[in-house]
Symmetry: C2
C-alpha cells in the first residue's frame, strides 16, 4: 500500500510528523477528512491530500481516512515502527534537558549513551542515561549500535566531534550547534538553532 517513492519534496516529512501527532489526538474516532486535518494542522486540505499521495492511497472517497490505518502507514513511512539507538554528545544544560525529553522516547528514539569531555561527568547516570568520557566514544557507540547522535556541544567543537561520531558509525546528526556541519553526503543532518528562531521573531515584530 505504501508506494515506492518518486520524488518527495523535502517539506512533506515534517508535515507528515504533524499529521501523525494530530491523529494521536483523535484516538477513538474512526475516520478523519483532509478538511479536518487542515483545520488542526493549519495546512490546506489540498496539501494534506497531496502529501499523502506521495506515499500511496490511504483514503476513501466520500469518507476520508481511517485514523488507525493512517497512523500505522505514517509510522512506517517515518520509520517509527522500530527502536532507534541514539547517543547524546555534550552533557550541558541543554543536553541534560534532552536526556529526559519525552518526545524522543515516546516515538522510539532511545538515548542509550551520552558523552562529555568533562571527566567529572563520566561514570555518572543522569536521567537514567550513563555518561561516558568522550574518549570512549567509538567503543561505546559501536557496542550499543548507535544509529544517530544528538549534538549539544559548543560551536567551536561541533564540526570535529560530529565527524568523529560519523567515524564511529552514526548515520544521522541532530545538530543544536549554530554551525553548518560539513559531513559526508550519506550522513543525514537536521539543524535546530534556537537563536535563529528567536531572531526571526524579533525581525517580525520590529518591522511592525
Amino acid at each position: 500500500m505504501i508506494k515506492e517513492i518518486k520524488k518527495i519534496s523535502q517539506r512533506v516529512i515534517p508535515r507528515m510528523s504533524r499529521y501523525y501527532r494530530i491523529l494521536y489526538e483523535h484516538n477513538g474516532k474512526d475516520m478523519i477528512s483532509s478538511k479536518e486535518l487542515s483545520d488542526f494542522s493549519g495546512y490546506t486540505a489540498a496539501q494534506v491530500r497531496k502529501d499523502f499521495a506521495y506515499f500511496g492511497q490511504f483514503g476513501c472517497p466520500g469518507r476520508g481516512y481511517n485514523i488507525e490505518g493512517l497512523k500505522g502507514s505514517i509510522r512506517k513511512i517515518l520509520g517509527l515502527d522500530r527502536q532507534w539507538n541514539v547517543a547524546l554528545i555534550g552533557v550541558g544544560n541543554l543536553g541534560i534537558a534532552l536526556l529526559g525529553y519525552k518526545g524522543f522516547k515516546d516515538q522510539g528514539f532511545e538515548i542509550t549513551a551520552a558523552f562529555d569531555n568533562d571527566p567529572e561527568k563520566a561514570g555518572r547516570m543522569i536521567k537514567n542515561v550513563e555518561i561516558f568520557s568522550a574518549s570512549k566514544m567509538c567503543g561505546v557507540m559501536r557496542q550499543k549500535k548507535i544509529d544517530m547522535v544528538i549534538l549539544t556541544v559548543p560551536r567551536e567543537s561541533a564540526q570535529a566531534i560530529a565527524m568523529e561520531a560519523v567515524e564511529c558509525g552514526a548515520k544521522a546528526v541532530l545538530n543544536f550547534a549554530p554551525i553548518n556541519l560539513k559531513l559526508p553526503d550519506a550522513i543525514k543532518v537536521r539543524n535546530i538553532d534556537m537563536s535563529i528562531e528567536i531572531e526571526n521573531l524579533s525581525f517580525l515584530i520590529s518591522k511592525g
Copy 2:
C-alpha cells in the same frame, strides 16, 4: 541604506541570521565575498547576494562586503540593535535549560521572568531568573514590558496559555509545544518541534 522592504521571502530571515553568525567568526578580517559566505553557510553565492539585495546594497563590486558594516546592517534588519524582554512559561527540564541558554542572551534576548503553575517553584530564582506563579502572569508581564514569550509547557495547556500570554501583551511566541497554535493574526509565532526534526532523520535513514 536599508531599503524599505518589498516582498521578503519568509526563508531569507533564517539565512540572514546564519550570515550574521558567520560574520562574527571573521572578526578582524576586512572584507568577505558572497563566495566565501557561500562556503561557510552552504547556500549558493547567488542566494547570498540575492538575500542581501532584499534589504539594500551592502557590497562593493570587485571587493565584496565590508564585514563590520554588514554586521551592523544585519543587526538592524533583524532587530538585534536593542534589548528584548522575554518571559519563559513552563519551568520544566527544557524550560530550565533555556533559562540559561547563552544564545538568547548574547543577542539581546533577556529572559526577565519565568512562570510555572507549580506553587513549589514560585518565588525561587533559577539561573538568575525569578519564577512567578502562573496566576501572576499578566501583572508581571506588563510591569516588565515583556515583548515575547518562550513556551515550554505541555501540549495540552499550550493553546490556552499562549492565548493568555497574548492577552498579557506578548507580541510573539517561540513555541516548543507540538501543536499548531491559533492566535490573532498580528501575533508572530515560530515553532521548534524537536520530535519532528528527529523523525525527519529516521525517515531519511530508514529509506536508505
